[in-house]
């Protein structure tokens, strides 16, 4: 007999355990199933840089948060309402984020004295009062899993590997999710290891039935599917996958075949991995010997007529700097993806930050402008990547596409574009030797792109300054002046092809929040909540960071205060101050390796507005 279902509009669950406990997998499975049920969702995986930190230690805690709801949501949730903790280290490092009165499901099988010691705990948080104020559900998941798989003849170690599926089963029951998608997934995943299909399926079902039979929970919840979602086709997407698909789509829309030269680096590697699977789309991927070779092969490929791309994170972008300058100088199309992480240096490789904006804009020798575009969220990754390809090919320039670790590994439903809405921007390679010069420019100042193999158009490009007319090497002072101005004017001209960003809210008011990149979900949620409370707050979210679109000054002038929340020390705010010296931009900085929460933004905005009155 099932318990009565208690309806909830939105729930945030955080799964936490040792990095060997399979929490990312548990979270991903819960997410996939939840997407299929028809909830809106957003996820936030949070894992250590170490593949296997000492088992049971605080450093080894890996987490996955999923926020799902029956209405449109923009963030993975500020405070979880449910915490699933597989060991003491996971519990102690996460319980304080939970909402008051929230549910904690804890695996007591991992709370021996030895386990507590590994987590550097002097007393047991289950008994010492730490968890007062929360609803704690204790279950020896280790023991239950062993019982469920007792007759399978597997070793203890293998059996305990299935405990995450047992846990997943319990949570599926609690939130009335179907088990079928995960059971199907197991069949595909372990097609060659039937005993693992059986073991994990059994663990999942046992966990589910356990929830049902033993009434561990006081009630069972349902989160009805979203009913007011716009019509169309959807799929669940992670940011890195969205970028990969967008890059290939962008090349196709330009009528080109993509070439990705890359080097593995967290958190960008997935893009290379996804694209390596797309060989039947004529995608060439080369995992090169280093970051520099990654971008250099891409430049060579662009010269030869493919659309060159390279993917990296902050430290890798630093290494690619000189070659990016070569692409600016030779005016070849190139897309450089930087999935930002915490810096400087190696910094926080698995945490989020937006601190490479100024590096992207200015981090090259010489006067070396190039366009910068940023993804806002996983569902925006595709469009931003296509836009980067459009700019690169239409303006013959390298483009930096900024994503970050939060977008890269977060997931949410993505409303797929209708195929007819994807407008091609075909590239036209010259073939006529009559009057040909490699530096003949079109009305957008883009030089023509003659490809090797074309008779009569033999020409040389390179890092030395070139004559504006002939393309030969030139040390002429006036020519350098002209070429510098031309390269700059070409990039600034891109603003004629980009829209003024839409406003979320009214065109004038008390507060304008200016954001870029992955602050989008949290800023939008915060601003919309304030709007509901009658505050005249508006969000301006920017995709194009350079050149800046037309029309910004007029927008800025319509507000009493302009605040710029960023996961850096105010980099966009600095850029805006420089470009619009008459406006006061108030930075709001967060440097914790974690995304903004909507509630902390809202609190800050409200404080700002109170200040004034």
């Amino acid at each position: 007999m099932s318990s009565e279902l208690i309806r909830q509009d939105e729930v945030t669950i955080r799964f936490v355990g040792d990095s060997g406990d399979g929490m990312q997998l548990t979270g991903t499975q819960f997410t996939e199933t939840t997407a299929k049920v028809g909830n809106d969702l957003a996820t936030f995986p949070d894992f250590p840089a170490e593949i296997r930190a000492p088992a049971g230690s605080r450093a080894g805690v890996s987490g996955f948060q999923v926020h799902f709801s029956s209405h449109d949501i923009y963030t993975p949730g500020d405070a979880p309402s449910v915490l699933v903790a597989m060991n003491p280290a996971a519990l102690i490092t996460n319980y304080m984020d939970l909402q008051p009165g929230g549910i904690i499901l804890v695996n007591t099988g991992a709370f021996t004295d030895k386990d507590l010691k590994k987590a550097a705990l002097d007393s047991n948080p289950l008994t010492d009062g730490t968890l007062s104020g929360f609803r704690v559900i204790e279950e020896d998941i280790n023991q239950r899993t062993m019982e469920a798989l007792a007759d399978m003849g597997l070793g203890k170690k293998d059996v305990l590997r299935c405990k995450n599926f047992y846990t997943l089963g319990m949570v599926y029951w609690l939130y009335s999710r179907p088990m079928e998608p995960t059971l199907e997934w197991l069949k595909v995943k372990f097609a060659k290891k039937p005993e693992l299909i059986e073991a994990n399926s059994r663990a999942l079902k046992a966990g589910y039935n356990h929830g049902e039979l033993l009434r561990l929970f006081q009630g069972r919840y349902e989160v009805p599917k979203v009913t007011d979602a716009p019509k169309g086709h959807y799929r669940n997407i992670m940011g890195n996958e969205g970028v990969a698909i967008g890059l290939v789509a962008g090349a196709k829309l330009a009528g080109l075949d993509p070439f990705l030269g890359s080097y593995p680096i967290t958190p960008a590697t997935d893009i290379l991995q996804y694209m390596a699977l797309m060989k039947n789309h004529n995608v060439i991927t080369c995992q090169m010997e280093d970051e520099i070779a990654g971008i250099c092969t891409a430049i060579g490929a662009s010269y030869a007529g493919r659309l060159g791309m390279t993917t990296t994170s902050g430290p890798g972008l630093a290494l690619k700097t000189e070659a990016a300058g070569l692409a600016v100088m030779t005016e070849l199309p190139l897309v450089i993806v930087n999935v930002q992480r915490g810096g400087p240096s190696t910094g926080l490789p698995t945490k989020v930050e937006q601190s490479d904006l100024l590096q992207s804009l200015f981090g090259r020798n010489g006067e070396c402008p190039l366009p910068v575009v940023a993804c806002a969220c996983p569902a925006d990754a595709f469009d931003s990547a296509v836009e980067a390809c459009r700019i690169a090919t239409q303006y013959m320039t390298p483009v930096i596409l900024l994503s970050d670790n939060y977008i890269a590994n977060g997931a949410e439903p993505w409303k797929l574009p209708a195929m007819e809405d994807l407008k091609p921007f075909p590239v036209d390679h010259p073939t006529d030797p009559e009057g040909f010069s490699p530096y003949t420019r079109d009305e957008k100042l883009a030089r023509n792109w003659a490809v090797p193999g074309t008779p009569g158009l033999e020409h040389r490009v390179g890092g030395l300054e070139k004559d504006a007319k002939t393309g030969d090497v030139s040390y002429d002072p006036d020519n350098h002046d002209i070429m510098t101005e031309t390269r700059e004017a070409k990039i600034l001209g891109i603003r004629d092809s980009i829209p003024t960003p839409p406003l979320n809210g009214e065109a004038t008011g008390e507060l304008l929040v200016v954001g870029w990149g992955s602050t989008y979900g949290a800023t939008r949620a915060a601003v919309e909540r304030m709007q509901k409370e009658g505050v005249k707050a508006t969000l301006l979210h920017m995709r194009h960071l350079w050149p800046l679109p037309h029309g910004l000054l007029e927008i800025f002038q319509g507000f009493d205060r302009v605040v710029v929340p960023e996961m850096n020390r105010g980099q966009l705010a600095k850029l805006l101050k420089m470009e619009y010296p008459g406006i006061t931009f108030e930075p709001f900085s967060k440097m914790k390796g974690k995304p903004f929460q909507a509630r902390e933004l809202k609190a800050h905005f409200e404080e700002l507005l109170e200040d004034k009155s």
Binding site: A249, G305, P452
Partner: protein, 332 residues
């Protein structure tokens, strides 16, 4: 198909004024490369020269072909991209001992091990010329330069040994003062399918004049070097009166009759390694010509083969397939 034209060496000359120092060994290499291209019968539009930075790296500007004069040390990586993107192109890398073995050493070894089908011509003058005379990774220990006023303490690379170690499928050495030998060597390199590494001893008249004189000067060349020819006995000397044979792990001088037959296509590079060790022994001749020439699949060949295999299996990918995958759901 358009009419294929037999081009002459002069057809590969660009209209740019050549700006190397008078007497520089680079002139000879430029002219030999142009002759080689004419003799192997390529069309200008299918040729791409890629260089890095240094005196030698100005080379692409002097060729009436496609070309990229890139950034310091990166020519091999850029050339890899060109060749993989369009395997129909004839790709040549022009580099020097500083460009290709110091700042670009990493790209050099990796492009050789991957067997990218490109010709790498390394101008070795054992000095940094464009920055006006500092020791390079091939300068001998003790060389006094502006940055080693008391003599260089760095142990040098032997370029041939490095290329052999990196697994290059073609490794050869020639010299600027013997255009015939250079043309012969470049001709064989041009016909090689795979990474072809050719070291050219090149005299820098300004900063390291005559550094190879002890081996290249006409009076001593026949005694101080041996020109290796595939399938022929390893004999040398003005009167061809000396031979070389292998004795254990060493090469020893013997009579011409006892000389071993040279075979650069041996699967093992061991013999080539033994020969190049003669560079360190003043009593032995330095080997010139082709030290290694073996066949192996090329990087670009394997990449395009995978593209075809996967496409045959899964069908030509349409843009729609990338977006509308199996896990799509519809909201009506």
């Amino acid at each position: 198909m358009s009419e294929v034209q037999q081009l002459k060496a002069k057809d590969f000359k660009s209209d740019q004024e050549v700006k190397w120092c008078p007497g520089c060994g680079d002139y000879s290499i430029l002219s030999c490369v142009q002759s080689t291209l004419a003799s192997v019968g390529v069309q200008k539009e299918n040729v791409v020269f890629v260089s890095g930075i240094g005196c030698s790296s100005r080379f692409p500007y002097y060729m009436d072909t496609y070309g990229i004069h890139s950034i310091h040390g990166r020519a091999n990586a850029i050339a890899t991209g060109v060749k993989v993107a369009n395997p129909e192109l004839d790709v040549w890398v022009i580099t020097g001992d500083g460009d290709g073995l110091s700042i670009g050493g990493n790209h050099m070894i990796h492009s050789l091990r991957r067997n990218v089908d490109m010709k790498v011509v390394l101008f070795n003058n054992e000095i940094y010329g464009l920055t006006k005379g500092q020791y390079s990774p091939t300068s001998p220990q003790g060389l006094k330069t502006k940055t080693s006023p008391y003599g260089s303490v760095d142990a040098p690379f032997n370029p041939i040994q490095l290329a052999l170690g990196a697994g290059s499928t073609f490794v050869a050495r020639t010299m600027d003062v013997s255009p015939k030998h250079m043309k012969d060597t470049l001709g064989i390199a041009a016909e090689h399918k795979g990474a072809a590494f050719v070291e050219v001893w090149q005299n820098c008249v300004i900063f390291n004049h005559d550094c190879f004189k002890g081996w290249t000067e006409k009076a001593v060349r026949d005694e101080a070097t041996i020109n290796l020819k595939a399938g022929e006995p390893m004999v040398y000397g003005k009167d061809k009166d000396k031979g070389l044979r292998f004795d254990g792990f060493k090469v020893v001088i013997c009579s011409p009759e006892e000389a071993a037959i040279w075979d650069p296509s041996e699967a093992s590079p061991a013999a080539a390694f033994m020969l190049i060790q003669m560079d360190n022994d003043p009593g032995m001749p330095r080997p010139m010509g082709v030290l290694r020439q073996v066949e192996a699949p090329t990087l670009e060949g394997l990449i395009h083969e995978q593209l075809s295999t996967v496409t045959d299996k899964r069908g030509d990918g349409e843009l729609k397939d990338l977006l509308y995958t199996a896990d799509v759901w519809e909201v009506e």
